[in-house]
Amino acid sequence: MPGFETIVRPMVFPNIRPIPTRSLPPEDDPEQGKCEIGGGGGGIVAVTENISVSGSTHNPKEVERRVDTARVYQENDDGTVNRDNFVDLEVANRIKMKVGAHPGTPGDLPPGAGFNGDDVVKTTAEKGYTGDDLIETYKYDPVKEKKNIEIKKRNKIKKAEDA
């Protein structure tokens, strides 16, 4: 009917489809997306070792001693003292030793420091340099008077001949 009404036949419009999202899938690039794990972390490392050994002989020489002169009388078994029979002794109360250029160890005792068993007691040892030489000084308790010991002279200095 050629009337005024709109013809209502169904019309499917060409634009009812979604818009294309793509054309053709691109070829995969085999080089793209490769994972490469590496690193230049290596390097030379120096390993070192040092060993030092030294040795020296240590031969001390007496250069001076200070002595007390003591007379020791005979003491009989009954405790009496025979003043006719005696000996005179020099008892060192200080000795100085030349050690040489090599330093010693504090507290070390010089050889032959002992005297008369319990009577002589080591006190201290001191060190000191005289020029190039090391002088060690050893001190001892002075000898004491007893009924059979008589002190004749104290602190007599005696030097070695080659000192």
């Binding site: 009917m1 009337g3 005024f4 009404e5 013809i7 209502v8 036949r9 169904p10 019309m11 499917v12 419009f13 060409p14 634009n15 009812i16 489809r17 979604p18 818009i19 294309p20 999202t21 793509r22 053709l24 899938p25 691109p26 995969d28 085999p30 793209q32 997306g33 490769k34 994972c35 490469e36 794990i37 590496g38 690193g39 230049g40 972390g41 290596g42 390097g43 030379i44 490392v45 120096a46 390993v47 070192t48 070792e49 040092n50 060993i51 030092s52 050994v53 030294s54 040795g55 020296s56 002989t57 240590h58 031969n59 001390p60 040489g100 090599h102 010693g104 070390d108 010089p110 050889p111």
Partner: protein
């Protein structure tokens, strides 16, 4: 009342039911033409005497207060043929004695009715929102795309329905050519070919989605198994002169398209930190004669835990000694100094962990093509000349997209294939339905017009088929595509015409085949659990005109199945290769430093030694730069695009035999 008497009543819009009160003559109808074409509302053109008021003056038909609706009826004898319509536009011949009024049986609420009806028609497979633009989904006219249906407007009730273009829903009107009522008039019979039938529709459609997935894959074991050296290595670790723990990729580092390190740890099996050791001691021997012998020793060393397989590229030893004497010529002192320097190139033994994380965004496309061939009678001498249609503009929305809050059409966006899914099959069926509709409509090429007797006209609607037997035509069955009934006032004759469209198929039906299950018996797992070979499924349960073989998923992709747990072997695209393993590095370094020896003759001084060490370091460094160990592999891209082609197997389309051309 005598047959052929028309009634005309102006009515209110609310008078939707015809009653005896409407059998009146509000206007003197001189002539009329009531007609309806397929897809259109019925219309009435009536010539009436020009309306006048009681004073005899013409009145305005469209004036305020005038009724514009009418009931028109024509007595056909056994029944009335009725029409309810509203006046449209300005009457023609307004100044003549006879004016022409035009009415249309179109509902006021046609848009609402159509939208409501369209809602009921949005069902798969005839309607598939997957292949419609989001903006066009609400268009009611689009819903008929897959149907062989057309809108139908009832001329009395104005109810909008759809009617099949091949088989009417309201039954068959028979003109048997034998009975009195079954005969049609000799005049008015016509047969014509509207066009050649469409014999084939070639459809290609494109379904796209973005394959989306997120997850991790532990590559540690895979890498170690390949990269651990056969010799000078340790089980579970990688050895190299250049690849150290600090070089291992850290979390967040990109390691491929869509890949990054989710967890990256690495540690050196050997502590390469340089450490210093120093020890010293003094020994004093008293000889008993006042003499002491004092010995002192100092030992210092800088080193590290040298790993097996490390190379010593330079080595120097110095050993010096001296003896001192007193004035007597006795030895009083002795000293010696030993020093060694070794240039070591450590072999790194590293134990790595590498968990790769992916975020897939892969554009996938499935291109489906098929040809649906109509089983129709040829009207051309060479059937190859039959017309074919190509439909290649069908493409889907992004099927993994959430539209209007609805879940993605593809369901799980990790899928590799859409069309092989249950929902995908529905989309394929929609394509078939679309092609089927095109072929079916175009198969209705025979149009027969005939003039029935007036008494039969009330039976005629556009929702019915007609069976016509007429000696000149033979037998024909077709859908009513138009009718008209007209009265010419000049001669008083009532002319009736009915036109039918007949398909020229061979008839028949397709049969479904269960096919051969590919996994297990149907009884065991059910019919929808597995894929089948040689299966034929009818595209719609109520239709046997065409079937197809649901395709099996055969995606042309890289094989990644995100629906299952991924292993390293699954995600490797290019297998791991180790460039310059330690054996090769060692050989290269030896070659590069060949002839570079410590200057011994004449005795090297410190400067020469230093130069030697520097040169050695440079040589080795340069060599290492040439032969850096590299682990190279490629993970499957998470951003690639894939396209898979499917050739859908469909049966021929069986079309009813509305008219047998070969029998004419």
């Amino acid at each position: 009342m005598p047959a052929g008497l028309p009634y005309f009543a102006w009515i209110d819009a609310s008078e939707t039911t015809f009653g005896p009160e409407h059998m009146r003559w509000d206007e003197a109808v001189f002539s009329f033409n009531l007609s309806q074409e397929e897809g259109d509302p019925a219309s009435l053109t009536a010539q009436v005497r020009r309306p006048r008021n009681v004073d005899g003056d013409p009145i305005g038909l469209l004036g305020p207060g005038r009724k514009i609706w009418c009931w028109f009826a024509l007595d056909c004898g056994p029944a009335l043929i009725k029409f309810r319509g509203r006046l449209v536009g300005i009457p023609t011949s307004l100044f003549e004695e006879l004016v022409t009024l035009e009415f249309v049986a179109r509902p006021f609420d046609v848009v609402a009715q159509k939208e409501a009806l369209a809602d009921t028609l949005r069902v798969l497979p005839f309607y598939d929102e997957a292949v419609l633009d989001k903006e066009r989904r609400k268009d009611p006219d689009v819903v008929l795309e897959g149907y062989t249906k057309i809108w139908h407007y009832d001329r009395e009730t104005h109810v909008l329905t759809v009617s099949d273009e091949i088989t009417g829903e309201d039954g068959l009107v028979e003109f048997d050519g034998a009975s009195e009522a079954g005969k049609v008039f000799y005049d008015g019979l016509g047969l014509r070919l509207t066009s050649g039938p469409l014999t084939r529709v070639d459809v290609s459609a494109e379904f796209t989605w973005t394959q989306q997935a997120v997850g991790t894959v532990d590559l540690t074991r895979y890498i170690i198994n390949i990269a651990q050296p056969a010799t000078e290595g340790q089980a579970g670790s990688i050895a190299s002169y250049t690849l150290d723990a600090s070089s291992w990729p850290k979390k967040g580092t990109g390691i491929g398209d869509g890949w990054e390190v989710a967890e990256g740890r690495c540690y050196e099996n050997y502590d390469l930190t340089i450490r210093q050791w120093t020890s010293s001691g003094t020994l004093i021997v008293e000889t008993g004669d006042g003499q002491t012998i004092q010995a002192q020793r100092t030992h210092s060393r800088s080193s590290f835990a040298i790993p097996p397989g490390s190379m010593v590229v330079g080595y120097d030893i110095k050993n010096e000694w001296s003896v001192s004497y007193n004035d007597d010529g006795d030895a009083t002192g002795y000293s010696s100094n030993y020093s060694s320097t070794a240039s070591v190139l450590p072999l790194h033994h590293i134990t790595p962990t590498l968990v790769a994380g992916y975020k897939a965004e892969r554009q996938c496309t499935e291109l489906v093509s098929f040809s649906l061939i109509a089983d129709v009678q040829p009207i051309l001498t060479d059937p190859e000349d039959g017309e074919a249609m190509r439909v290649d503009d069908i493409r889907s929305i992004n099927l993994s997209e959430v539209v209007d809050g609805q879940p993605p059409i593809i369901g799980d966006p990790r899928r590799r294939s859409y069309i092989a899914t249950e929902r995908g099959n529905r989309s394929l069926e929609h394509l078939i339905a679309y092609a089927r509709a095109l072929l079916m409509k175009r198969a209705r090429v025979i149009e027969i017009a005939f003039a029935p007797k007036l008494a039969r006209m009330p039976e005629i609607t556009l929702r019915k088929n007609v069976s016509l037997i007429e000696p000149r035509v033979g037998e024909a069955v077709g859908k009513i595509i138009g009718y008209s009934i007209a009265l010419d006032g000049s001669d008083g004759r009532v002319n009736c015409e009915v036109r039918i469209g007949c398909t020229i198929g061979y008839g028949g039906s397709q049969v479904a085949f269960a096919g051969t299950p590919t996994y297990c018996s149907i009884d065991y797992a059910g019919a929808d659990y597995q894929q089948f070979n040689d299966r034929v499924v009818l595209f719609d349960e109520g239709d046997t005109s065409v079937g197809y073989q649901p395709p099996q998923a055969a995606p042309n992709d890289d094989g990644l199945d995100f629906l299952s747990a991924l292993r390293a072997e699954d995600v490797i695209d290019i297998p791991l290769t180790v460039e310059n393993p330690p054996v090769d590095q060692q050989a290269y370094i030896l070659q590069a430093t060949l002839g570079h020896t410590l200057p011994r003759t004449p005795a090297a001084d410190e400067e020469e030694l230093q130069k030697y060490y520097e040169t050695t370091s440079e040589l080795v460094g340069a060599a290492l730069r040439q032969v850096e160990t590299k682990l190279i592999f490629k993970l499957k891209s998470m951003t690639r695009e894939f396209s898979s082609d499917y050739e859908l197997q469909v049966t021929d389309l069986k079309i009813p035999t509305g008219y047998d051309l070969e029998a004419v």
